[in-house]
Amino acid sequence: MNTSAPPAPPRLALVDVSKAFGAVQALRGVTVELYAGEVHALAGENGAGKSTVVKTFAGVHRPDSGEVRLDGEPVVFGGPADAQAAGVAVIYQEPTLFPDLSVAENIFMGRQPRTSLGRIDRRAMHAAAADLFARLGVPLDPAQPARGLSIADQQVVEIAKAISRDAKVLIMDEPTAALTGQEVARLFAVTRTLREAGCAILFISHRLEEIFELCQRVTTLRDGTWVGTETLDGLTTDDLVQRMVGRELDDLYPKQEVAPGRVALKVSRLTREGVFTDVSFQVRRGEIVALAGLVGAGRSEVARAIFGVDRWDAGEVEVDGRALPPASPTAAMAAGLAFVPEDRRQQGLVMDMSIERNMGLTQLRSLRRASGPGPLISRRVERDRARDWALRLQLKFSRLSDPVGVLSGGNQQKVVLAKWLATEPSVLIVDEPTRGIDVGTKAEVHRLLSELAAQDMAVLMISSDLPEVLGMADRVLVMHEGRLVAEIPRAEATEESVMAAATGQRAGKEAA
């Protein structure tokens, strides 16, 4: 663990920090040092304590022991405001926007450009925001309210907010989880510029290749303890995985070959005005079909409409040959659909509710039946079922009655998966199923999806993670600007062919 520390003290550092939440020891004697002009990676499984490190840097949490040092001097951040004042900008794992305010106001809240009289200069503010979006290469309107932005756009706004601060320290907790290659590349370009300007940067991602591309050094955490800090030069992915999970990693894409069966999901000419147009495709039992495209191409919207959370304007959806009524998730579920939404905080989980209750939420009827005669639900049955799934998905939790909100992001995602798999669907739609999930778990989720398909389930997978798409899908459907522009069989699916379709370069040629 040789660290070639530059002579100057680190810009910002955690030294021997411990932090507990109730009886959960999130961090134990962790040291992370961020130097100017360096991008530092933080690696670890879900629940390893990465976000806790971030929040400690940000002044959200105060360490139980150990200290935070700014330019070598111990400091105490009483709250996020103190950290900001010290020049720390943070992108949190989960977007934290003000839905009622405009995108520009979100970015500049508290430090809006002022006129000489001290009042807000809206024109300057909007111009500055437009400028930031130009740098990030994202066409967002600064005057648009933040409500209704897709997760990806929200993430972009968060990034814009952080880089607009001209901070000395920039901390990014999984900023790329919702982004596709385009935006990631832009983000990296901006990050490098900041680094060269002398900014100290902390970067977290479960996509290890990103770490190798962007970062110079990496600190690895395992179960809240510090494993090591080292330079990335000469390190291999396998080394890093070994440090994170303490064992060799299995195949990340354990795709089983299955002969597709009957058509389970049939979507015909589905249209929702202004969002997507004329989308038709089929998914057979045993198949994993991926829906690829750039951020905002309308993939999530298609999935939402199929499941009935959004209304569609025209077209038809059939599950196992039966047409679904529009806009009724209940009917969709009864027909055998399951839908893992992309926004787990708002749509996937009830954060304040316990793990077991969250899992039970999709199966209230079957729980009641399993509880014996009468309308009551037995808590025992509920808990037993939840425990089964928790074990199957290797959920890391302390008690099933804890609110799901205290789980790490990846473990929350597992709960969402569990709650839907428990309904034993015939068609499973997953929107970004492995966003924010660590490599180890990712492999598990992939194995799970693969198994499920092998057991005759039809899987429609939306993912912005291209390797995942290529590794898992039997067929890749590509969307561009609200239309289905290509259908690429597994054999022909390559990064180039998918990206070409997604950016519209092959539009119309291979449309299904």
Binding site: G22, A23, S65, P329, T330, V350, M353, R357, L361, K419
Partner: protein, 338 residues
Amino acid sequence: MAEATGTVRGKGAGAGRFVRWDVVVTALLVAVFFGGVGISPDFGNTDNLSFALGDLGEIALIALPMTLLVVCGQVDLSVASVLGLAGALTGWLWNAGWAFETIVPVVLVVGVVCGLVNGLLVTRLGLPSLAVTIGTLSLYRGLAYVVLGTEAVSQFPAQYAELTTTNVPGTPIPYQVALFVLLAVVTALVLHATGVGRALFAIGAQEDAAFHAGIRVKRIKLVLFVVSGLVAAFAGIVYTLRYGSARADNGVGLELAVIAAVLLGGVDFDGGKGTLGGVISGVLLIGLLRNLLMLNDVATEIQSIVTGLLLIVSVLTPRLAGVVRERRARRRPAAAPA
């Protein structure tokens, strides 16, 4: 790891569990009851207690659906007005020579319609229930005045009126209390042991997530508002019979008393949290305390102050206890993983 921490956590969380609103309120209730018996000899006699409980009748009844609504993140401020409208209608129809047996179902249907209007506005247009029911609070009360104007109708059939003022034969329990106990048990089971109850908590805590889980959010809300209207109308008939007087201003301001009781019982106004037991304690606490203060000739104004302080204390105590616990935990962080 899951198992190991599971056992340790048990203790810490157990201590946390203890200081909840509903527990505090129940403890206060017990204290007031025994304190009351000690202070005032008349307080504990069955006559007084059954009166005090009977006097809570309408508030207690309405508090049941209100609890469900608040747990589900909604509120119905129009209940007292529905109660008044039901009373006014009862009086008007009675005056017009209708049979009481016909009046009751008609009035209950009107209650259902009132609830339906609230529910449709909330679910169809997606309006906040607080705003909608402030509107219908005026509307229904106004309709009560339109129906009955200045009149006060009295002399309802004795055989029904007696049901509201007498006890179940052979017991010191007023009919209303018996009915309330029955409904409370049903409501408690619905809230805490059925799928609908689970759904209510989910909707209250995070509506979007509940919707994505296939829960029929709108239908459930609609039904709740309808039930609330129905119960309020029923309470309106009871109220009219109990006081033997149907007037347009029956029960003005009752909604705040109901909400005070529900909040006092530890139901979170933001939805998603609360227990029915807490609410029942809250209702009883307000009623018994008031009775006790009155018996001791404590002036109305002081009663009002005590009620207010009680509300504040009931939410403040658990918070402060939480802060103290956190401080203490922070002082000895190393002890936790032992």
